[in-house]
């Protein structure tokens, strides 16, 4: 360390380092970097922390609202079966089996009034007024279908026991036979509901 040559070299190095520092004093990042950074700011800004906090608050409020709505819906749904426990499948008398669109006001179509009368959500009384010209059948009522303009009816014949997996309770589940179903199918090809079920044997009588 006492080498005078080395000491002079260190001094010279310090001088050179200062010269380099002086040269660099005025160096600045190009303007394109500035522009790029500020462009990024403009993009990132919507997600800036303060806005994230705001978004988080809004999301929390929405989540709380959704949970409250779900809770209310759950309470309502849990009460509904107690008040109106679903009895046997509703047997109704229908006038005819022509293509009828459900939930359409009777005045708008030419079908008989019995068929097109707006039905209560859960009709569960036997139609005692049925006459002998009516065939016994099952009329199933689902949630109201808002848009019936593009509905079509598909008739299929299925074994009677096939109704059980569809959630339709049977009075005598062990009985055989077939059932003609009228299924409301939406424009997208998805079945919306079973409009009517008519036991084949009864109908053939």
């Amino acid at each position: 360390m006492n080498d005078p040559t080395r000491s002079s070299e260190i001094v010279e190095l310090e001088r050179s380092l200062r010269a380099v520092a002086d040269e660099d004093t005025n160096q600045q990042a190009p303007l394109r970097v500035h522009a790029a950074v500020m462009r990024t700011w403009d993009v990132v800004q919507p997600f800036a922390p303060h806005r994230r906090r705001r978004l988080r608050t809004v999301a929390a409020l929405v989540a709380i609202g959704s949970m409250a709505a779900a809770l209310v819906a759950a309470v309502v749904m849990s009460r509904a079966p107690a008040e109106t426990s679903r009895p046997d499948p509703v047997i109704a008398r229908t006038v005819d089996r022509g293509p009828v669109v459900a939930n359409v006001p009777s005045q708008s179509r030419g079908a008989p009034a019995e068929t097109q009368r707006p039905r209560p959500r859960r009709p569960r009384t036997r139609d005692d007024t049925a006459t002998s010209r009516y065939e016994p059948g099952v009329v199933l009522v689902a949630d109201p279908i808002v848009d019936t303009s593009a509905m079509s009816i598909v008739r299929v014949r299925v074994p009677r026991t096939a109704l059980v997996p569809l959630g339709i309770p049977l009075v005598e589940p062990n009985d055989g036979g077939s059932v003609d179903l009228e299924i409301l199918v939406g424009e997208d090809g998805v079945a919306r509901t079973i409009r009517r079920a008519v036991p084949v044997a009864v109908r053939q009588e």
């Binding site: 190095l13 160096q27 600045q28 950074v37 500020m38 990132v44």
Partner: protein, 200 residues
């Protein structure tokens, strides 16, 4: 290090406003500190292109982490040096072969004295050699040389930037200078030196 005076807002104020989404405040921070970040990155990488990328990354990282920056722990310049150091190291790890010494040091090394062009040219070439020697140093020595010798940070500030004790900064600076001296010796000078040692 600029902390603000009567005319200019303090760093903490700018950071606070930028946190609240004030674009002008962030732009003021950029304008205040882009030069030191760019110079640091350029000295560390020896590449203009890399230095530009690093500068951009540093300020993008700042806008991302504004909420985490605590003015009580470190001043903004120290914080930015630290981010620049990390980004630079990461970039050099990723692209160690992309450093182009010539493009970095061709601009600022023109002869500046018209009185003695040959001396100025020699001086300029010496500075280019010095810059190249700095870039060729191991990064742990290079960063303390850049911070303390080129950017004139105190040992304490440099220690804060690299996250090491002041004593480590001192020792690395000492060792870095020694390495630079060795690398800057011309072959003739080295030969004379060896001859003198043998004769002694």
């Amino acid at each position: 290090m600029v902390t603000g005076g009567a005319a200019e807002p303090a760093d903490a104020d700018l950071v606070e406003r930028a946190r609240d989404g004030d674009r002008d405040a962030f732009e003021a921070i950029y304008c205040r500190y882009q030069a030191i970040v760019y110079r640091f990155a350029r000295s560390m990488t020896g590449s203009v292109t890399l230095a530009e990328d690093v500068t951009q990354e540093v300020f993008v990282a700042l806008m991302r982490d504004l909420a985490r920056y605590d003015p009580q722990r470190a001043c903004l310049s120290t914080y930015l040096y630290g981010v620049a150091r990390n980004v630079t190291r990461a970039r050099l790890r990723r692209e160690p072969r992309s450093v182009n010494l010539d493009d970095a040091f061709s601009n600022g090394s023109e002869p500046s004295s018209l009185d003695d062009p040959s001396a100025a040219l020699t001086r300029s070439q010496d500075l280019i050699r010095l810059r190249k020697a700095i870039v060729s140093l191991p990064s742990r020595y290079r960063e303390v040389i850049v911070l303390c010798a080129l950017h004139e940070l105190s040992y304490t500030d440099a220690a804060a930037v690299i996250g090491m004790p002041v004593s480590t900064v001192r020792s690395r600076l000492h060792r870095g200078r020694a390495l630079l001296v060795e690398r800057l010796r011309s072959p003739q000078a080295e030969h004379s030196r060896m001859v003198a040692r043998c004769l002694a």
